[in-house]
């Protein structure tokens, strides 16, 4: 009898097949990016870094990367501040009305970004925010809020509400309680949320397709054009760089989670 119930060979085999389906197609871009050919293919005679060279020396790619980076940083900041405070407020008040607020905050996850993008196109035209850094930042920031609200709410669920009461009983006002008691305790949740909000903005295409055209040209937008116009191996190099970047962020998140008590 003894021992836990473990999956059988059939289930394990199937699971491996699915895992390969998930991972292999993505990893195929690594050899492709190292091709010595001038078109999209596997390396023929030797591995080559020339396509990475193309990307790194291309002002267009670099410009797109920087634009994406700064938009992601600014919108993450917006999402983290608004999302964290909101999650804390909802957690503390914890009534039917705050459940509604939390549901409202989740809307951007539920509603397709295409719908939002359509509305935003018109809306930003009136506000003169089309094709502007501020416009894209606002849009990405607002749609990044749900990630922060979720991770921070999860962190707060493990937070003993008596700690807050204890702080208040010792004379701490709201700001002091926040700064010295609540925020330090939920920091890992906030950082997780920040990472996800950052990735969200960094990868976002649909909204950008609608509200940005020339002055703001993010990395996803450039990749999109690349896929639709010329499938050259430089695209694969960019894709690999992106994957490495994302994986690093995720590892950082996992590291922080492990340190969480």
């Amino acid at each position: 009898m003894g021992g836990a119930h473990r999956p059988g060979p059939f289930a394990t085999g199937l699971a491996w097949a699915v895992a390969l389906y998930l991972l292999l197609p993505i990893s195929i871009i690594i050899p492709v990016s190292l091709t010595d050919q001038r078109f999209l293919s596997l390396p023929v005679e030797a591995l080559s870094l020339r396509h990475y060279g193309t990307v790194v020396s291309s002002p267009e790619w670099l410009d797109a990367i920087w634009q994406s980076f700064w938009i992601a940083v600014a919108s993450t900041l917006l999402a983290v501040v608004a999302g964290t405070l909101c999650a804390i407020g909802c957690w503390r008040i914890s009534r039917r009305s705050t459940d509604l607020v939390r549901a409202l905050m989740l809307l951007p996850l539920i509603i397709p970004s295409i719908v939002y993008a359509v509305g935003l196109y018109r809306y930003f035209a009136k506000l003169d925010l089309l094709d502007r850094f501020l416009g894209v930042t606002l849009a990405h920031g607002v749609t990044g809020i749900p990630y922060v609200v979720i991770t921070v709410s999860t962190a707060l669920a493990a937070f003993d509400p008596r700690l807050e009461q204890a702080a208040r009983s010792m004379g701490a006002g709201l700001a002091q309680t926040l700064r010295w008691v609540i925020l330090p305790r939920i920091m890992p949740g906030i950082v997780s949320g920040a990472i996800f909000a950052f990735i969200h903005s960094w990868d976002e295409l649909v909204i950008v397709l609608f509200i940005a055209s020339r002055d703001v040209f993010t990395l996803p937008r450039r990749i999109w054009n690349g896929i639709n116009e010329n499938l050259d191996p430089a695209m694969a190099a960019v894709a690999v760089l992106l994957v490495i970047f994302t994986v690093l962020l995720l590892l950082l998140d996992q590291l922080l989670r492990k340190r969480r008590p």
Partner: protein, 366 residues
């Protein structure tokens, strides 16, 4: 005793949650430097009252006064009350010293003064050695002492304790009870404690307030409550009791008698109690340890015969259930040291008690 204590008054405190009334019309005063315990079973409203005093729950009706000043509307952070939470609520991300320094940091005290006060508070609870540890590295008893130091370091006008000992095992609990009592004597502050443990309440407090179903049932010094419970609930909740109900036959000269079946019992009228009307029903509470074992010749105010139904050995005493013809089952405790008898099932006994051993109590309001 120093004069640092403040007097607290509750005036008609009521707290409702929707249709449910957690606390109903509770009025209490706590004298300066007094140790008061709110005692009651779960759901009795004791914690709600403590949370009202602390300011975390606003009473639906009534007022809270500190030295006669109305503080009902004051938020908790402006009340300057120390509080020891159930489970202690120590900040896990801070060291012991940082925890204790927290209320001082909030008050923007200078570093030197802060350090001196933290040291003094840790000395008070004998934890100076552990200043740099995290709460998770301390035992339950040590954590409790950190919580005490943290709640006292800022000279609070009042110390509130929410089941401060419930997380500890029995032996440690007894030890810390003594410490807590000594601490109260040393700091001379007003303490308000909440517990469901009647032993703790009796041994710690100057005064105990007993709550049931959100109402204050009786309050007074521990001995007075134990010896003269006002109602069946109090007698039953504080220790064990036998309840005897009979009809009043006659009443004279500070005594009255009741009959239960063919047995007549004599009851001394406690000081200040009104004489009961003849023919009325009376309920008596009789503590098991106040029933004595009589040999064939001895006599007492009240004597009944019975047989042992069950008995058990409990270290200091035997707990014996005796079946009697008219009074039903009686709980009796007999000392084990040089016990007059060796208990055995079916053993016939002669039991006796004096007229002032039992107390008349009221039936609880439904």
């Amino acid at each position: 005793m120093s004069t640092a204590g403040h007097a607290l008054g509750l005036r008609g405190i009521t707290r409702r949650y929707g249709n449910f009334t957690a606390v109903e019309d509770v009025s209490l005063s706590v004298g300066s430097g007094e140790f008061l315990t709110l005692l009651g079973p779960s759901g009795s409203g004791k914690t709600t009252i403590l949370m009202c005093i602390a300011g975390f729950v606003a009473p639906s009706e009534g007022a809270i006064l500190l030295d006669g000043r109305d503080i009902t509307g004051l938020p908790p952070e402006r009340r300057n009350f120390g509080m020891v939470f159930q489970g202690y609520a120590l900040f896990p991300h801070m060291t012991v010293a940082e925890n204790v320094a927290f209320p001082l940091r909030v008050r923007k005290l200078g570093a030197a003064e802060r350090e001196a006060k933290v040291r003094a508070a840790l000395d008070l609870v004998q934890l100076t050695r552990f200043a740099d540890r995290r709460p998770a590295q301390l035992s339950g008893g040590q954590q409790q002492r950190v919580a005490l130091a943290r709640a006292l370091v800022f000279d609070p006008s009042l110390l509130l304790l929410d089941e401060p000992l419930s997380a500890l095992d029995k032996k440690l609990r007894a030890e810390l009870q003594e410490e807590l009592k000594a601490l109260h004597r040393r700091v001379g502050r007003t303490f308000v404690n909440v517990t469901h443990d009647q032993e703790e309440a009796l041994s710690l407090s100057d005064r105990v307030a007993i709550l049931n179903h959100g109402r204050l049932v009786q309050e007074g010094p521990p001995a007075a409550l134990y010896e003269r419970p006002r109602t069946r609930f109090v007698a039953d909740f504080l220790g064990k009791s036998n309840f005897l109900q009979g009809t009043v036959r006659q009443a004279a000269q500070g005594r009255f008698s009741i009959t239960i079946g063919n047995t007549q019992l004599v009851q001394a009228l406690p000081a200040g109690a009104a004489e009961p009307a003849v023919g009325a029903l009376a309920l008596l509470s009789l503590r098991p340890e106040k029933i004595g074992l009589l040999d064939d010749t001895a006599s007492a105010d009240n004597v009944v015969k019975g047989r042992i139904v069950t008995w058990s050995y409990a270290g200091a005493g035997y707990t014996v259930t005796v079946h009697t013809a008219d009074l039903g089952s009686l709980q009796v405790t007999l000392p084990t040291w040089r016990a007059p008898i060796a208990p055995a099932e079916g053993l016939p006994l002669r039991l006796g008690w004096s007229a002032d051993a039992s107390v008349p109590v009221e039936e609880d309001a439904a």
